[in-house]
């Protein structure tokens, strides 16, 4: 016999975050394994073990003119971010929010389009629910490094292999990765991509992608 909270959480997991969610520009390599065919505004995503994957998710909206924010990640490499096509002029960094993580994240959710953060170890379920409803209301996507309750998808690198490095010779050149995306129902999709594919979005080839995303809709 399941308890009531367990049933509630199962219902929550089955429900999609919202019906009329807009899709944010996403790297094609990741778009095909994400639910709904890309990053959804108002959605929340967890990335298990890789800042690279988080940067690849952030790159799509940022390269098409959205404001992005990185909270609580002092080790976030802006140089690598620029390599992914993230616009540094529209990237807000709050490396050390301290005890005010929730307030700062909520304040940023109000104004930017994508927030990347490392979730605190202990977060009350009520706070998570409030943040989720804030995300849906403002149409902001949340990407967390580490586990996140009730996220739309959890991405992780299952396998990784580097090329170019020998026993004392060469240097790192290329990387092949197997990326898995787990949806809340537990269904798993995977794809094999190279690092260069993650760094190359459609927005570099043509400017059509800019019309997909209108940052002006944020101002209400």
């Amino acid at each position: 016999m399941n308890s009531l909270p367990d049933l509630q959480s199962r219902i929550n997991q089955m429900q999609s975050s919202r019906l009329d969610s807009r899709r944010l520009p996403t790297v094609p390599a990741l778009a095909k394994i994400l639910p709904g065919g890309g990053l959804q505004s108002g959605g929340s995503y967890a990335v298990r073990n890789s800042t690279t994957l988080a940067m690849a998710l952030l790159a799509g909206p940022s390269a098409t003119g959205a404001w992005c924010s990185v909270v609580g990640l002092p080790e976030f490499s802006v140089e690598a971010a620029e390599g992914f096509g993230i616009n540094l002029e529209r990237l807000i960094l709050v490396p050390d929010p301290g005890a005010q993580w929730l307030t700062v994240t909520a304040a940023l959710v109000d104004v930017v389009s994508v927030v990347l953060t490392r979730a605190p170890v202990h977060l009350a379920p009520s706070d998570t629910a409030r943040l989720r409803s804030r995300l849906r209301q403002r149409g902001t996507a949340l990407i967390t490094l580490g586990n996140w309750q009730q996220c739309d998808s959890t991405l992780s690198i299952a396998e990784s292999a580097w090329e170019g490095l020998g026993a004392g010779t060469g240097h790192l050149q290329a990387r092949r990765m197997k990326i898995t995306a787990t949806n809340p129902a537990g269904r798993l999709r995977h794809t094999y991509v190279g690092l260069a594919e993650l760094q190359r979005g459609p927005w570099q080839a043509s400017d059509d992608a800019t019309t997909l995303f209108q940052p002006a809709r944020k101002s209400s």
Binding site: L93, G98, D110
Partner: protein
């Protein structure tokens, strides 16, 4: 009468503006001495682009001249104090002089710092004569500590300036350095001056070749001939030389007072008290700017304490300051990032805010439907800044450097980035993809060979053994090395005792995650991770 004058275009001597010219000789030197609190008799030279721009009388006695190269000047006068010439200092320090003069008589025209013209007709009637008006000026300026002032009064600014400069030839050292040329006497007074005072070197050379040696000779030529031969500039110089300088004194409008100061009695020691007490001043400051049709995008905040310490800082704003923002800046300046930042030891007696950059309100006005998303971005970020402090909300630019942590430069939101050139070659720069995680401070690591001995690099760059296992951080877990490369030496600032000698390695473990490790003084650190 005035219509007739304007119609003919050639006014007679009676309509020339009676002008008082106030001249402070060597103003750049006086300004520098006052600014840097130097001895009045110090041998001082102001240098602009390697050449002496101005020198004090003591230095002049030793043979220092304007235009001399710095080294030559130092050779002639061994005790010479050398300062860089700062044109803005001249203007800034002349401002109190003008303000003092304007309290006595209106209509002051500043020709350049150290020289200003005043229409003397009104003041001479008010003070009972030109001589009395001048003597009032001398007394007022002596009261603000300015003693070396010369005054000349004549018809028109040109003649008055020459009269002021002629006071140097006065015999009586005790009398006030004042020279008054009676109305209509300017042509006679100017006739003996050399042509150089016109400050038109080409014309002066030409006239000398024609046998014209003085202003009197030049004035004797017919105005029409001079105009035909020398054009408009020549005609103007001819009229100056003839004592018919009709350029009137264009009085300046005193600029509005935009800065604001709040005094606290007794001195305040708590930040929240100060922020509360300062609010009214901040609102007045912003309202004053608004009234002048301006907005302020950079503001200088000076905090003065009871024991005489001053904490001064320039704050910039991505849009423009309103009263809340100004109060925030004062608060942040007091909080600082650490105690050594402001280092104030006693209570705050007064706070001064000076607008550093003002721009026209029209350029910054909001559109009818707001200015789009960037405005809301700014409001949101300002909220976070007021929660966490000014330096907690950052944007980043990429700078040059060998170590990855050096290559990112954080800029607090709202400040403009310093110009950086990252395109220069950096020998020792990392090849290949950039790691996504760069630790703010290097994390201790362990690298051992097959036997469990730590791996080292000798001064010739040879490794003691190939790395076999490594671990990063405090955890004792060791991962086997799948592939590796290095050592890549980085020799940072070898000329500096604080320079560093590092060796860099790339390591990939068997699970396929790659790390960037550093070896310095036989200790291993992890610089970054390709996660």
């Amino acid at each position: 009468m005035s219509t007739g004058t304007a119609a003919s275009g050639l006014p007679d001597a009676r309509t020339a503006t009676r002008t008082l010219m106030l001249w402070c000789p060597d103003w750049p030197i006086t300004a520098a001495i006052r600014e840097h609190s130097l001895d009045v008799h110090a041998a001082l030279a102001l240098v602009d682009r390697g050449e002496v721009f101005a020198c004090s009388p003591t230095a002049r006695q030793d043979g220092v001249r304007r235009g001399l190269r710095l080294r030559e000047a130092q050779a002639r006068c061994s005790g010479l104090t050398v300062l860089a010439y700062d044109p803005s200092l001249d203007t800034r320090s002349f401002e109190p002089v003008i303000t003092a003069v304007e309290t006595l008589m209106p209509g002051v025209q500043v020709l350049r710092p150290g020289l200003c013209a005043i229409q003397i007709k009104g003041p001479s009637r008010y003070y009972g004569g030109e001589e009395n008006a001048a003597s009032i000026l001398f007394q007022t300026l002596a009261a603000i500590g300015l003693t070396d002032v010369r005054i000349g009064i004549a018809d028109g600014p040109f003649a008055a300036e020459q009269a002021a400069k002629a006071t140097e030839a006065l015999e009586d050292p005790l009398a006030e350095p004042l020279c008054i040329i009676p109305p209509g006497g300017s042509p006679w007074f100017l006739s003996t001056f050399p042509l150089d005072v016109l400050e038109q070197p080409r014309l002066a050379v030409l006239l000398k070749r024609l046998g014209v040696r003085s202003l009197g000779n030049f004035a004797a030529l017919s105005a029409a001939d001079v105009r035909n031969r020398f054009g408009v500039e020549g005609a103007l110089a001819h009229r100056q030389a003839s004592g018919f300088d009709y350029s009137s004194v264009a009085a300046r409008t005193p600029p509005p007072q935009l800065d604001a100061t709040a005094h606290f009695e007794p001195p305040l020691v708590r930040i929240d008290q100060l922020a509360f007490a300062f609010r009214m001043t901040a609102e007045r400051f912003v309202a004053g700017l608004r009234q002048a049709g301006l907005v302020c995008t950079a503001v200088k905040v000076a905090l003065h304490t009871e024991s005489g310490e001053v904490s001064e800082r320039l704050w910039q704003h991505p849009r423009w300051f309103d009263a809340d923002d100004v109060v925030d800046r004062v608060r942040w300046q007091l909080q600082g990032s650490n105690a050594a930042d402001h280092g104030l030891t006693s209570g705050i007696t007064h706070v001064q805010i000076v607008p550093d950059l003002v721009e026209d309100l029209g350029d910054h006005a909001d559109g009818l439907w707001g200015t789009g998303p960037d405005e809301s971005i700014h409001h949101g970020l300002a909220r976070v800044q007021s929660m966490l402090g000014h330096g907690a909300v950052l944007t980043a630019v990429i700078a040059g450097g060998r170590l990855l942590a050096d290559r990112r430069v954080y800029i607090p939101w709202g400040e403009s980035p310093a110009a950086q050139d990252k395109t220069r070659p950096w020998p020792g720069q990392l090849p290949g993809p950039v790691p996504a995680t760069v630790f703010a401070a290097p994390v201790p690591a362990v690298v051992v060979d097959l036997r469990g001995n730590p791996v080292g690099v000798d001064p010739r760059g040879l490794m003691s053994a190939a790395p076999a296992f490594f671990g990063v951080g405090r955890i004792s877990q060791r991962w086997p090395v799948h592939s590796w490369a290095g050592p890549w030496p980085i020799n940072e600032r070898w000329w500096d005792p604080r320079g560093r000698m590092l060796n860099r390695f790339q390591l990939v473990d068997t699970s396929g995650s790659a790390w960037l490790l550093l070896l310095e003084n036989h200790e291993w650190f992890s610089e970054a991770s390709y996660d």
